[in-house]
């Protein structure tokens, strides 16, 4: 079991995960953000690997990625930063990014490094499932990394079942047909979708993401799924204050987890 699987083994409900872009706001922000999140009791983290053309992302993550690349962030550097942090934090980490930089780094070399520097899993949203099965699955297994796949309200039941079969940590439930960072409360459409997922009795926990930005969206995800991932809203806090601990506290207030 990797650290992420271990976490899901022990904690079934009300998971809170944050996403941030490595190299943002500054090139060496990564360690401070991870430490601050652990201290604040965040359950696990997605470390975003910046990409020049993030197709599925809205303006906030786009801008953080552009900035991180300008700052000089690379995958190599990220691994060095994570290596230096090893043993200092225990919060489970996932690496999230687009496939092209991973391919250029070398898929196997990437997974070997990811595993060696303490990552529990990878989210590569543009990796096709058939290619995962044919070319990547054995590598994930070899390096004890969990693959995390996205599903949306438009994903068919059949495909969700296939994804459930291939997953061993959690399924990433994209809340609506949208790019990241949409600020809208969850409505009837999300409830129907969450109920549909619940009734499928999947073996993996369901973690909701895209649009988690306030108390309402967090609570809806917590009540209907096993947890929530918050990304753009966190990056906005990080943009507003250089102090990562303060940014997490501010975010928790917005999410209704802390009184003013």
């Amino acid at each position: 079991m990797n650290a992420l699987q271990n976490l899901f083994h022990n904690k079934k409900q009300n998971q809170l995960s944050l996403f941030f872009t490595a190299g943002y706001p500054t090139i060496d922000s990564t360690a401070g953000i991870i430490e601050a999140c652990q201290k604040a009791g965040i359950d696990f983290l997605e470390v975003g690997m910046p990409y020049s053309d993030p197709l599925a992302d809205g303006p906030v993550i786009q801008q953080s990625s552009t900035r991180a690349i300008v700052n000089g962030m690379t995958i190599e550097l990220l691994f060095n930063q994570l290596e230096a942090l090893k043993g200092k934090t225990t919060i489970p980490l996932l690496l999230m990014g687009y496939l092209n930089p991973v391919i250029q780094f070398g898929a196997e070399r990437f997974m070997e490094k990811a595993s060696a520097t303490g990552a529990s899993g990878l989210i590569l949203p543009d990796l096709p499932i058939h290619e995962y099965r044919e070319e990547y699955q054995t590598l994930f297994e070899k390096y004890n990394l969990s693959p995390v796949f996205l599903i949306t309200p438009h994903t068919s039941d059949e495909r969700i079942k296939l994804i459930d079969e291939l997953s061993n940590a959690f399924i990433y439930v994209v809340s609506s047909a949208a790019t990241t960072g949409k600020k809208q409360d969850f409505g009837q459409a999300q409830l129907v979708y969450f109920q549909r997922l619940k009734s499928m009795n999947l073996k993996n926990p369901l973690i909701g993401g895209f649009g988690i930005h306030n108390r309402q969206t967090l609570q809806q995800a917590w009540q209907n799924l096993n947890g929530a991932i918050c990304g753009s809203a966190f990056l906005k806090k990080l943009a507003a204050t250089p102090d990562a601990e303060k940014a997490v506290e501010e975010l928790k207030k917005d999410l209704g987890l802390k009184m003013d």
């Binding site: 020049s52 690349i69 092209n100 780094f105 996205l150």
Partner: protein, 408 residues
């Protein structure tokens, strides 16, 4: 520069113009898309062949191509050029299509598909504005609301086409992100599609994007080489040329002009790509020359990227070729030697535009001028039959031409 052909031109290879079931041309193609796009792309993949091969579609498509687009376009024997370059040079006059470029061929077909899939609105990306104008045109005809994404840099350099799109009733959205050119216009169109999956058809302008788009666009544009075959049969008594020259941005006019000749063992297929200020200047869009395998806009192909896998910004005076990737079919044709790709600089293209204007009384689009420029890079035998795909007309580029020719 004289091109050396390493491949044996008489080698015959069949079926290299269509991808396998998953959309791969050799090692290039596929569909590298986030789950948000999967259902839409899957819907198109499951339907496109059946639709475009159906009798109803063929009938409607062919009628529109004939009476609305103005097909077949002439295959014009360019006597003056032939004399200058010592070969039998023909121009395939795609510039005479309604709206002034080959783009309309694919737009007509895709709009019919959108209607078949019950998608009530259309979005498109555009670089030079020709695909945007073609989309706006067909959407006006078919009464479909149309939104076009265009980089703000391209909006400035292709003003005439922006005005045309607006006149036709399309909404033009200026893209301010990244390069502010075709690459980022495509990103924004895809993002918009992610946010509007139910009612929107994404009408891609070239042989790029996730499978099935490259194949769909290539098949719709293949009317170009189909016509060349029968026109040459009448005019030259043979149904293939010795050379086809076409410019390649994403590669749709080249794919269409090459389609029926790919792997025939007889025709030398020459694509030209925009070298900008020179292939090694750092300001280039010569993807085949300076690119490496990777993923851009949902397909595996050759692209200009850093060693970290970040997509680089392209540079070309021609908005339609200013793209850091190339369609996967061309990456495959290049890798297998079934076609050759030549870099052509901004200056060479501008000079070729003036040359063609003065020699034949035809002002080409800047994109097209890159194909014309290949004439002086090749050595022909006197009875070689050479077809240049004259992909578009130059009205939209007069401002650029004027600026350049005033400067020198």
């Amino acid at each position: 520069m004289t091109v050396k052909f390493d491949t044996n031109p008489t080698e015959v290879k069949r079926n290299q113009n269509i991808p396998d079931e998953r959309g791969y041309y050799g090692g290039f193609g596929g569909a590298y898309i986030p789950e948000m796009l999967y259902p839409n792309v899957e819907e198109l993949r499951n339907n496109y062949l059946q639709v475009i091969e159906s009798a109803d579609f063929r009938k409607e498509f062919e009628l529109l191509l004939r009476d609305y687009v103005g097909r077949p376009t002439p295959l014009y024997y360019a006597g003056n050029l032939s004399e200058t370059y010592g070969a039998k040079i023909y121009l395939k006059r795609e510039d005479l299509c309604h709206t002034g470029a080959h783009k309309l061929n694919s737009v007509v077909g895709q709009a019919l598909i959108a209607r078949h899939l019950n998608k009530p609105r259309i979005i498109a990306e555009t670089g030079a504005g020709q695909h945007g104008v073609a989309s706006a045109t067909v959407c006006a005809l078919m009464k479909i609301p149309c939104t076009v994404f265009m980089g703000s840099k391209d909006i400035v350099r292709q003003q005439a086409n922006v005005l045309r799109m607006k006149m036709l009733g399309a909404e033009v959205i200026a893209v301010e992100s990244g390069s502010k050119t075709l690459k980022d216009a495509t990103n924004e169109a895809i993002r918009h599609w992610i946010n509007h999956p139910d009612d929107t058809y994404y009408l891609i302008g070239s042989t790029i994007g996730p499978h099935p788009y490259p194949d769909l666009v290539a098949r719709l544009q293949s009317v170009i080489s189909e016509e060349i075959q029968s026109q040459l049969m009448k005019q030259e008594g043979k149904d293939y040329p010795d050379y086809v020259l076409a410019c390649a941005g994403g590669g749709s006019n080249a794919a269409g002009a090459f389609f029926h000749f790919i792997g025939n063992g007889k025709t030398r297929l020459i694509g030209t790509e925009a070298a900008g200020e020179g292939v090694d200047s750092g300001l280039t869009a010569a993807t085949i020359y300076s690119g490496t395998p990777g993923i851009i806009h949902g397909c595996k192909t050759l692209l200009m990227q850093t060693s970290d896998g970040q997509v680089m910004e392209a540079h070309s005076v021609s908005a339609g070729l200013d793209y850091p990737g190339i369609g996967p079919m061309h990456a495959h044709l290049h890798t297998t030697g079934l076609a050759q790709y030549l870099p052509v600089t901004d200056t060479e293209a501008l000079d070729a535009a003036q040359m063609l204007s003065r020699e034949e009384g035809i002002i080409p689009a800047l994109e097209t001028a890159h194909a014309v420029a290949a004439l002086s890079k090749l050595q022909f035998k006197p009875d070689d039959v050479v077809v240049i795909c004259l992909s578009g007309r130059g009205d939209k580029d007069l401002q650029t031409y004027q600026q350049y020719f005033q400067e020198i």
